[in-house]
Subunit: 241 residues, 2 copies
DNA sequence: ACCTGAACACCGTTCAAGT
DNA sequence: ACCTGAACACCGTTCAAGT
């Protein structure tokens, strides 16, 4: 997904993007970009962002690490390519006439699922330009739906930013947590630790204790829906004015 | 800020936190934790998360890198300590009787400013447990205000998560962008690049062109306020039900 | 046109050894 | 109680050289 109004200065270097360089005209006797991207995706899904190194990727493709630099200027360019694949997995309502709330809701849920499926992508949001075809197409459809719904001018940007910010802010820390803690850790022990840390905050400690019985997985889903509905209500209020 | 309902499994290791280990009883002939944390903060602010290495920090304190391991179990523990300092900089309304919307608004703006001031902290959100005194105190006050306003049970968690998710999701990509692009880059060149990348999406390209004249810095502030007000409206709707 | 290996300048952490 | 330096197993990228 693409948010274009990022801050900058009038001076300085321009930013590079794979999508603006012609790929090497490949007679493809050897590797190909697609092959490299696919292998990188597998490595990323299996071992995370830190698990992808040029050396490992080279090994997986039975080449020297440095051979990859023939196809790709550097690691960031490679990541840009894989990053766009991720946005390509977002599923939207087929219909062009979907109601904007329905559309936004489906998109938000799908974006979250896609990030959860590729946790490493969370670390790339904002770090890499999202100028690939999939990211742009997503942005384009969302904006068209919002315009049809009645949003005008910069409000289209603002509404999009509000929605995507919520999805990102809900999901990025979640996957960061998961990958830093490893997949499995001890829930009761975690509650015990939280309770001990909160010993100087009795209300907090009490709430921790009460909600210990809830399933955190379920709570996260409910929390996401709660936030999403709140935001859609809030955006709708902007619309009627 | 602390969100406790992160997912986990019933098995596996428990997570570690500095806040649950007694610090070494220091007779302080040599370094101290405070000194180390202060130096780390300076290094982080000056050079970012990648700029902080145990070797550089050691050099700054005129010690061997490995000496630091006497005061801190590992780099993550050190980061946990500096991380809490960041939350300590969030400014809230003094009054205990502030209206919840006012409170939430001030908190959201302050959190954003603090993250912008310490961009490296964005990468730690979710990755490290936020169990330090400053983080807990922030969580505690927010929750008390929401309860006073009428939020009940898990809605207190959900409302907090909605608000903080928006702040995180708005700010994390923003600072990621800034630090990956460097401080200054060429705005017109950026627009040119975006336009060229969007050549297959005429509506998108047209909007890029129109909004080229806006100041991105200003737009970001307006966008943040737009999103924040929308969310507060949406949360208020949950309240009256 | 494509691939290679050596080299550079880094990492976090462990550990035996020193004072 | 505190500090040290060597060592281990890594990084991304450059570059001259090969085929």
């Amino acid at each position: 997904m693409c948010e274009w109004f990022y801050p900058g200065k009038m001076t300085g270097k321009q930013f590079p993007s794979v999508w603006l360089r012609e790929p090497r005209k490949t007679t493809s006797p050897g590797r190909s970009r697609e092959e490299i991207v696919r292998a990188a995706m597998e490595l990323l899904d299996a071992e995370g962002l830190h698990g992808l190194s040029m050396r490992k990727l080279g090994a997986k493709l039975v080449t020297g690490a440095t051979s990859l630099y023939w196809y790709v200027a550097n690691k960031d360019e490679l990541l840009e390519l894989v990053y766009d694949e991720v946005w390509g997995e977002v599923r939207l309502p087929e219909s062009e006439t979907a109601h904007w709330r329905e559309f936004a809701s489906v998109m938000a849920h799908s974006m979250r699922q896609v990030i959860l499926r590729h946790p490493w992508s969370a670390d790339l949001i904002g770090r890499l330009p999202a100028l690939g075809p999939s990211a742009l197409s997503l942005t384009d459809r969302m904006r068209r739906i919002l315009k049809t719904a009645g949003f005008r001018g910069a409000d289209v940007d603002y509404a999009t930013a509000t929605l995507t910010s919520f999805v990102y802010g809900f999901t990025i820390p979640e996957v960061a947590w998961k990958s830093s803690m490893g997949e499995g850790y001890d829930i009761p022990a975690m509650h015990d630790i939280a309770a001990r840390a909160a010993r100087d905050f009795p209300d907090l400690a009490a709430d921790f204790a009460v909600e210990q019985s809830e399933d955190p997985q379920v709570m996260r889903e409910v929390a996401f829906d709660f936030g999403l509905v709140s935001i859609l209500d809030g955006l709708e209020a902007r619309l009627v004015t």
